[in-house]
Point group: C2
Amino acid sequence: MSNSKGILVVLSGFSGAGKGTVVKRLMESYDTYALSISATTRQPRVGEEEGKSYFFKTVEEFEKMIEEDKLLEYANYVGNYYGTPADYVNNMLKSGKNVLLEIEIQGAMKIKEKNPDAVLVFLTPPTADELKNRLTNRGTEDLATVEKRLSRAGEESNGIENYDYILVNDDLDTCVKEFNEIVVSEKKKTFRNREFISEIQNEVSKFKK
Amino acid sequence: MSNSKGILVVLSGFSGAGKGTVVKRLMESYDTYALSISATTRQPRVGEEEGKSYFFKTVEEFEKMIEEDKLLEYANYVGNYYGTPADYVNNMLKSGKNVLLEIEIQGAMKIKEKNPDAVLVFLTPPTADELKNRLTNRGTEDLATVEKRLSRAGEESNGIENYDYILVNDDLDTCVKEFNEIVVSEKKKTFRNREFISEIQNEVSKFKK
């Protein structure tokens, strides 16, 4: 098919659902994905590279991007801006890569508003009990941190129904395979193949005499 | 996930696209599918079994089914009624089977109207040239039949954009695998998993204190 444009895939999910691991495995297993890179005004940490970890911006630069509508979404978190530069995402999509964007629900909804063709996937452990186990058994954290996590899961669960897909992460290999199948299937949606459909309709109409 | 209801999958496509072969292979390869069985008023042919090939009905019986809204769609073709009995489809869906319905575009649109959750797949050869080759090289038919087929392909191509997915049948194995992946991915749509989502939201909300 002539459709070679990539899909913007937004991944959200409970902390403890394994989003980071799923993204890492997707990148390792398939050459069809690219990771979205965020812009931020926070200081680079040791080992972080410009254009790889983040696009590091001054507050002035970031606010100019906001004004010029160059961010798919942004938020201010503990005094620093974080956002998704539209240009980078769009260039990757044009080159045919499916762009992965790991982001929380407010950002996900803004993305969907600006890019209705984006695919939103919510990742969850198989059960709430399993989620609780994963959040409490990480080991190192104190009780207050664990409780904060559990409480946050409650907030994260609001709005799952606004996502396109819900994906259970029980077995990692299965989950990564299913995630990729969702994206591969989405590429076959008719609205993503208008050019190919027009071509074949045009050709076939010539059969009529 | 608690979602065990099947999906109604409508398959249309150009004559010569290989719909019949794809359906046959799907049924052989996966135990998750059931074939929809049509009702008709035409006479049974030798070897055709009631409730297997068709549900054979009198005109009175068929028209009663129409009145009682017991058909998902129906049409009159060369003096005989053909239709899709809703009860049979709904029972199969409830039992967890994905129900395959091979039907042309007018019927497909009626199905989508009555069952918005149905998934509509349009099957096509990779190119119009390939379609022409398949339609002309079947061997046995005379020129008039071939031309009728070619002309019909033009009509069949109208409205492809009203389907959910367009699937290219180039290699049969690949096509059958991709068809199944579309259905498996569709089962992960959030709107098909409302019960599971409510459950997990309810459980997770108890984490908050």
